[in-house]
Structures are given as C-alpha cells and as structure tokens.
Amino acid sequence: MSFVIRSRSSPTTPYDTLAGVIIAGIVLLTLLFGVKWSFVLALDFSVVSMYARPLFTGFLMTLGISLFSLFAGSIAGILLAVAYRAGSSPVRWLVSAHIEIWRNTPLLVQIFWVHFALPMLTGISTTIMVSGVLTLTLQASSYLAEIIRAGVASVPKTQWEAAESLGLHPGIIWRKIVLPQALRVMLPPMVNTAFSFFKGSTVLSVLGVTELLRMGNIISLHSHKPIEIMTTVGLSYLAVGAIFTLISGFIERKISR
C-alpha cells in the first residue's frame, strides 16, 4: 500500500529525487566524517563467544521472567475480568481502579514502589527478583484484564440471548459461542502485550536483577568491549522481536481468514 498514487492526476515533480539526493548526502557525510572507521573496523566480535555462557544465562533469565509474569498475569487477568463481569458495582469499581492504576503509572516507579514501599506496608521484605516479577505480574494482569474485558464485551448481546433461548448450558455458551468470537478480538493485542512485557523485563535491571541487559552491562564493563557486547544484546532482543512479528502476522492471517 502506498500513499503516493501513481496516476495521471498526480503531477510528477522532482521533489522525490531531490529528497533522495539530500538524504543520501546526509547519510554519506555522516558515514564519512561522523564515524571513526579505524575504531569500528578494529571491532572484534570473538569476545562474544568468550562470554557466551553468561550472556545466554541472562537471556534465559529474561525469557523466564517474562514468561512467568505473563503466565501468572494472565491467570490474574482472567480472574479480574470475570470479577468485573460478574461482580457488583463496588467490585467493578475496584477492578477498574486496579486496571487504571497499573496501566497509567511508569513501570520503573511501580517496581520501586513494590520493592521499597510495599514492604513498609506489609512488613514482608522481598528480594529484587520477587518484587520485579511481582510488579510485572501485576502490570500484566491489568493489561490482560482490560484486553479480556474488551474482547468479551465485543461479542454482541444478541449472541448471548440467542444461545440462552436455545437453552444452552452457560459453560457451553462460553466455550462454543463467546470465547471463539472474543479470542479473535483478543489475540492480536495479547501478542503485542506479550512482546511489550518481554521488553519491559529490561526495567528489572535497574533494580539489579541480572537479566540479559544487566548481564550485558556487567560484561561490557568487565571486558572493556562495550560495542561488541551491547550490540549482541541488542541484536538478541531484535531477534525475539522478529519472532514475535512472525507470530502476530501468522495470527492475523489466521483470524482474517
């Protein structure tokens, strides 16, 4: 899909060529004078293989943190969405307050609140890992509850009424009628949320959890090779991002069919 229509009605102008020349010029000048080629060409990526094991440990940690918090968060999210649907108005109000609070504050502030302020309230001190995962779980629960709530609400009321008038059991209504329609609406934002929580797990490094980013920082300080190490870290995040793009493309194709 292109915005520029290639038809007779669009007068052809030399703007595009001009813009291309200007941008190419800027890029060339930056590459020529802005980059220290003697340094860049001397980069030695074999350092990465030396530190492959700790980097992989960090990667596994990142994966584990995000998978666990997504799993726990989706269970909590389902419970919250059910409570919102079935509960009385104070319950609804509480669920909405939970959703809005966790969605509308920065993750960093939430993590610090859970790690430093919550123990003052409860008297239970948590390790950095526990408070980080707890924060991610709570935030995931609010995002997922909102998605599930919107997904279930998107099924028209007539579908419920039709199913009830057929005398179907509530369990069957959910399984065979509501969920298949709601899942079509819910899946694409769920995949996006999953990826954003994978990205969000990097914030735990600020607390000191040694996931991939913090491991990369430590190793780049230790080895004095920041570019090689940090680029590898960045590329591994990009690789996971590419996998997520493939998954969401696959799901969207499945749904639109």
Binding site: S2, I23, R103, T105, L107, W113, F116, A117, L121, T231
Partner: protein, 233 residues
C-alpha cells in the same frame, strides 16, 4: 529540608504527611524537568519522525527500506537497551563525547521518532485517495493538496494516537534515571536513599505520574470514542 519537631503528629505516624508537604515543591520542580525532557524529545522525535514518514512514502525503494528497517528496529528494541546502547557505544563510534542528558534526549527522540512516524503514516493513509484526486482536479498543486486537504483531516485522526503515545513517552522518560539524569524518578530514588522514606516518596511520585498520564489517556479515550460516534452517524 525542614527540621521536624518530635511533637508533630506526622513524625510518629508511619506515613509522614509533613514530609510530603515539605518536599512537594521539589517534586513539582523535578516533574517540570521530566516534562521538559518529554517535550524536547517529542519535538525532536516529531522532526525525525516526519522525515521517516516522508521516506516511507517516497518513490525511491531504498528510502522506503531504510525507513522501514529503522522504525522496525527501534520499535522492537526495549527502550532501556536503546538508551544503554547509545550511552556506551555512540561516543566510541563517533568519537564525540556526549553527556548523559544529550544521550538520553537522543535515545528518547529516536524512540519517539519511530512511533510518531507510524502515527503520521497511519493518519495520512486514512485519508482516501478520492480526497487527493478531487484536490488535483480543482487544479491545486501537490503541496496545496497536502496543506489544505490532507493535513487538516489527518491531524484530527492523529490526535488520539498522539495523546496515547505521549503517555508512553512520559513512562519511558523515567528510564532516563538509569543514566542519573535529574528528572522526577531519579530525584525520588536519591531522596529515598537519603531519607529512607520510600513509602511516602514513591506513593507521591506514583500519584503525580498517575494524575498526568491518566488525564491524558482518558482524554485520548474520550476523543477516540467521540470520533467513532461522529464517524458512525
């Protein structure tokens, strides 16, 4: 900080309201610092994002590809990774020493540029081809069509996503505290390390962020809902 008297009721309470009262102005000051960081990176990101958007609509395939790769990469990278990569690698690659604030502003601007270019693109694409053709048939030039017909309509479409993105930008700006840039969450953590009044500090900081972000996101939600109503009728 004001010396606290022992008989002040807040001194004995586990939630020290007097501490919040004393620190409130300081927090507003650092909140203004946070907001100006966001505003600067929004402007920088808007300029870069507009260029990326133009590159995307260009007829030159290479420009399309470059813009696509840049936007995709920045959107797929976690913000903190982008910040740390630029912080540790940019000075080495370019040979220019940058202080933490400019590195932070560059990374937030890049982050904003990637998302803003997508918002601009979606807004422009939402205007039907008929609008352009009608403009051309009236004898308007390409620039005039863009200025008089497409942009006024596209901006209305962009306002909602733009407000939503500004929420994300404010949230991302807290990550700059990892580079010890003096914005609100950094002040919170340094004050916390000094006074150990974490409960008061982080509850207040969270509340300030919540007020700003919630106002914006509900404005966006209301705007989008009203637009949908207008479009449906």
């Amino acid at each position: 900080m004001k010396e606290k008297l022992a008989d002040e009721p807040g001194a004995r309470c586990f939630f020290d309201i007097y501490f919040i009262r004393d620190q409130f102005l300081a927090f507003l000051y650092y909140g203004a610092a946070s907001l100006s960081i966001c505003a600067a990176s929004l402007i920088g990101g808007g300029v870069i994002g507009a260029v990326l958007c133009l590159m995307h609509f260009s007829r030159l395939k290479t420009l399309n590809a470059v813009a696509g790769v840049l936007v995709g990469a920045v959107r797929a990278l976690p913000e903190l990774v982008l910040i740390f990569w630029l912080y540790s690698c940019l000075p080495l690659i370019t040979g220019v020493t940058l202080n933490a604030l400019s590195t932070g502003l560059i990374s937030l601007s890049l982050f904003a540029a990637a998302y803003l270019s997508e918002i601009f693109r979606a807004g422009l694409l939402a205007i039907g081809i008929g609008q352009r053709e009608a403009g051309y048939s009236l004898g308007l030039s390409r620039l005039m069509v863009l200025r008089l017909i497409i942009l006024p309509q596209a901006t209305k479409i962009m306002i909602g996503p733009l407000l939503n993105f500004m929420c994300d930008l404010i949230k991302a700006s807290t990550l700059l505290s990892a580079l010890s840039i003096h914005e609100m969450s950094f002040y919170a953590s340094s004050l916390g390390a000094e006074t150990y009044k974490y409960l008061e500090i982080y509850t207040m900081v969270g509340a300030i962020y919540f007020v700003v972000i919630f106002a914006m996101s509900s404005a966006a939600k209301r705007y989008l809902a009203r637009r949908e109503l207008v479009l449906a009728s």
